[in-house]
Symmetry: C2
């Protein structure tokens, strides 16, 4: 059409897609590639029936490809609040770029890839001597940097029954400064999985910490007096973290131990690394 | 890829689109056109982040093109209830094919085209001697017949401040059996517009009927004794309808009148056409 209009320069070739077949965005983008110069749409796809094409997604698709759409989405949640207030229709949790869940990974493999992508992004930024926000964005599963939209990274990795050790370890490290060795991550992931399978709900970092403490720091009452428990504990490995929350300034020791044929993990908290080590040993004896 | 795989017959070429750029559906459809033979998705597009591609929309896009997807969507709202219950995430009002608003036209021009499309569909069905459900579907703005999904036509035309005379007339005709002549439709649309502009809300057929009665059947108290009101009424035209609700079995007369330089419409209801005519004339005198 673009090539066959007689006085092409005298018309504005415009497309007006609705989303009835779920293809409004692709329709607009392919039309522009075919020569259209205007797209008629609505913010976040409001409009008759399934809505007019979402101009926010169109703009942010450009942004994700390195083209400046010249629209300010640096606080997308504020735009969303105004639109929801004006339209009296909520935006869906999975709406591209703006929904509550769209930067969130629950799946273990996704979390793992995203955590590695974040680390790589930081490494490349440091290597190039640029701010992280200035570096080209190339993190798996996230088409844009959530920070470009005024979002934080808090929402990116969340844990439910589909998550694995990666997400759990990430949350404990990010929220509490607690680094878990890989074999303990595997052990603790089973504990969390039992919990999420039973509860069927997402777990936040607080809950993870509560589960961790209950599992690896058994209270005195948990001790029993069977003869096996009296065997000597043999420490196999020990890992220490400086806790940043909820008990900032204290230390955590995680202790891998063997007692006869039995092996396991225990943990302890203290005002110094030594004190944390002793608490971890005491916890191991109570196991 | 499809053409360049060495042992093409030994692999299942499968795509797994998510909707991060709002293009999951188009991605799957173009992939299948390019030779893919499997699409991995979720019902109504649930799944990590923006969700996996919506297999219901993919299937119903095929249905809309005359290809049987061999999935039973004859009661799509029941499927939706199960999915919402299982996922604990509501489906958006504008989600293709299944959202609450996706078969609904508020816009006057859309309503007009849909009402004409409905009439044409009935006419072609009658002409061909087929049931309406057996005739190819070709109604503007509605990619599929809502009845194919277990939906009724009640939701198709609804009235708010963006609607015109067509939707108003359609609702009064469909719900109350009341046929309004075109010039009265224009007059009444102004009354409805004043109401929707003030209230900012959708109006249902009941409200339209209440507005209609208040406007064209003024109560006795509305009469005044200025000399102009005493002039003789000259009837210009008269239209009668058999009311189907809320007063089934009664008749409505709408009367176009002139009194000096003044022109207007009045209406009356009666147990017979004559009685309705008299009531309309009395209402005109009270104007």
């Amino acid at each position: 059409m673009h090539l066959n209009l007689e006085r092409r320069e005298s018309v504005i070739l415009s497309v007006h897609p609705h989303n009835d077949r779920g293809t409004g965005i692709a329709c607009a983008e392919l039309a522009v590639l075919a020569g259209a110069e205007r797209v008629e749409g609505c913010l976040f796809g409001n409009g008759e029936r399934t809505g007019n094409v979402d101009i926010a997604t169109l703009a942010l698709n450009l942004h994700a490809q390195g083209v400046d759409p010249m629209i300010d989405f640096s606080d997308i949640d504020e735009i969303r609040r105004v639109v929801e207030e004006a339209n009296q229709i909520e935006i869906h949790a999975r709406h591209p770029y703006v929904g509550d869940l769209v930067h969130t990974a629950f799946s273990g493999t996704h979390q793992d890839a995203i955590a590695k992508g974040f680390a790589d992004h930081r490494r490349r930024s440091a290597h190039a001597g640029h701010a992280e926000s200035e570096m080209p964005w190339d993190v798996p599963y996230l088409p844009v940097d959530p920070a470009d939209l005024g979002r934080t990274y808090d929402e990116v990795i969340r844990v439910n029954s589909q998550s694995g050790k990666g997400g759990i370890a990430y949350l404990l490290a990010a929220e509490f400064g607690v680094e878990l060795p890989r074999r303990l991550q595997i052990d603790f992931a089973r504990v969390v999985q039992r919990h999420t399978d039973t509860e069927g709900r997402e777990v936040d970092a607080e809950t993870l910490w509560t589960l961790f403490c209950a599992e690896y720091m058994p209270a005195d009452g948990a001790a029993d007096s069977t003869s096996a428990r009296a065997d000597a504990i043999e420490p196999l490995s020990r890992h220490r973290s400086a806790i940043t929350a909820p008990e900032r300034g204290r230390f955590l020791t995680v202790l891998e131990w063997r007692r006869g044929d039995d092996r396991g993990w225990s943990a302890g908290i203290g005002a110094s690394e030594d004190e944390a080590d002793r608490a971890a040993s005491a916890a191991a004896r109570r196991h």
